[in-house]
């Protein structure tokens, strides 16, 4: 549990975007993730209603790993998506791993990958995809690296949720990507559920609207969420909110 370390990872992501003069992209998250975790491949696949798993971005040779999971219908990324939890595999050549993914594991090893760590892009019932980190050498992530990977997954989630939300809703969002400590408070998630019903949207759009509202009013997300939960603030079906 290291707050400063998390802040450093967010800073690295934002610095990269600022240097490029563009908002944080999913490609940038993958790139910095690969650099920070000394991984040969990093990729993001989105959860898709039809396919279940849709590759969108990869650095290094990670496209091959996603291709295999699309073709074979099995693999750590798919399991992370369906199980709503990280799936961490230190050695793809191990017996247990081969039993778990009889087709994917040998194919991945043949493609030169020995370890793969899949982190779902998840915030409660908001589930948008999976971040996968792969290495050519066997071995586990250190606890520090696992914590960093969770931050990269948060960053990928934020980028993705923003893109899925309507441009209107996301327009007010800050350029800087940052996951505050507010997201650990119950009221933020309770308010997300309430706003989804008030505005007739799904949870991810409701979450983006809450964040945008807080940013526009220069208040903290937690304060805004508390107002929603206390029914001092309502969000209408369109952009205009009535206090």
């Amino acid at each position: 549990m290291d707050r400063q370390r998390s802040a450093a990872v967010w800073a690295a992501i934002n610095d990269h975007a600022r240097a490029g003069g563009a908002p944080v992209s999913i490609e940038a998250v993958c790139l910095i993730c690969a650099r920070t975790l000394r991984a040969q491949g990093v990729s993001v696949a989105l959860s898709d209603r039809l396919m279940g798993y849709e590759p969108v971005c990869a650095s290094g040779g990670a496209y091959r790993l996603m291709d295999l999971q699309v073709t074979l219908g099995e693999g750590p990324g798919r399991d992370a998506l369906t199980g709503d939890r990280p799936v961490l595999v230190g050695d793809l050549a191990e017996d247990g791993t081969r039993r778990r993914w009889p087709m994917f594991a040998p194919a991945a090893v043949q493609a030169g990958v020995r370890a793969i760590f899949a982190f779902p892009l998840l915030l409660g019932a908001i589930s948008v995809g999976v971040l996968e980190i792969s290495r050519t050498e066997e071995g586990w992530l250190t606890p520090q690296q696992a914590a960093d990977a969770l931050v990269f997954a948060d960053a990928a989630l934020l980028v993705q949720v923003r893109q899925l939300a309507s441009p209107d809703a996301a327009a007010g969002e800050p350029k800087e990507l940052r996951w505050g400590t507010a997201e650990r408070w119950a009221q933020v998630h309770q308010a997300t559920g309430m706003v989804a019903i008030q505005s007739g949207t799904d949870l991810s759009a409701a979450f983006v609207r809450l964040r945008a509202h807080a940013f526009a009013d220069e208040r903290s997300l937690l304060e805004v969420a508390r107002d929603v939960v206390a029914r001092r603030l309502r969000f209408g079906p369109d952009r205009d909110e009535a206090d």
Partner: protein, 251 residues
Amino acid sequence: MNLEMKVKTVLNRRTAQTFVELADTLVVGFDVIDFLQTLAERCVDLLDVDAAGILLADPRGSLTLVAASTEQARLLELFQLQDEEGPCLDCYYSGQPVTCSDLAAHPQQWPRFAAEAHRAGFAAVQAFPLRLRDQVLGAMNLFSATTKAASLDHASLAQALADVATIGITHERTLRQHQLVTEQLQHALNSRIVIEQASGTLAERGQIPIAEAFALLRAYARNHNQRLSAVARQVINQDAVVAELLTSASS
């Protein structure tokens, strides 16, 4: 049998029943949130305290509430406040139990936490670590409305219950990989978020307070022998269960 012995016998029986009940939930259709929720509620009965909560450490840097004996908003804030300061944070960093039997007598220890606890009507607090060998996963937090010296009997029972929580989270005693703990922890933390989102959804649908929405979810899951997080997902997906839940609210 004198009165004291009678009380002890009853308490022992209830303690044994609790461990049996918790062991049962560990096996069939195990869900970590249901498990921790039951544990938090039983802590109040067994440990003679007024509120109990379980907080888990997220590797990203925060201490987050995942289960509480009651969903009173002020109490939830009190748990979550310890992400910044309080007995749970101290307990997490030291890996040792932390006790303050009279918060008013030591206001400088945790100024903000002590003030909020007083406002919420609590006078004493304890925190017990959830430990897995050299790793601390979180803390179990107990609140009392009256000042009291912590009894040794209760302290060892409380630590035993905290250890049970650890077993519930790691699922098995022989677990050796930090990786599996990460997988389980993230799942538990996320399940709690699903339940919060569902509470919000239901509260807005029925125009009822959040705490009442949570109570409805909990009662429905119990009565229908379903997982709390599964019922929460049905509510978020606007399944028929929403109407049923709200009917039971108005009746």
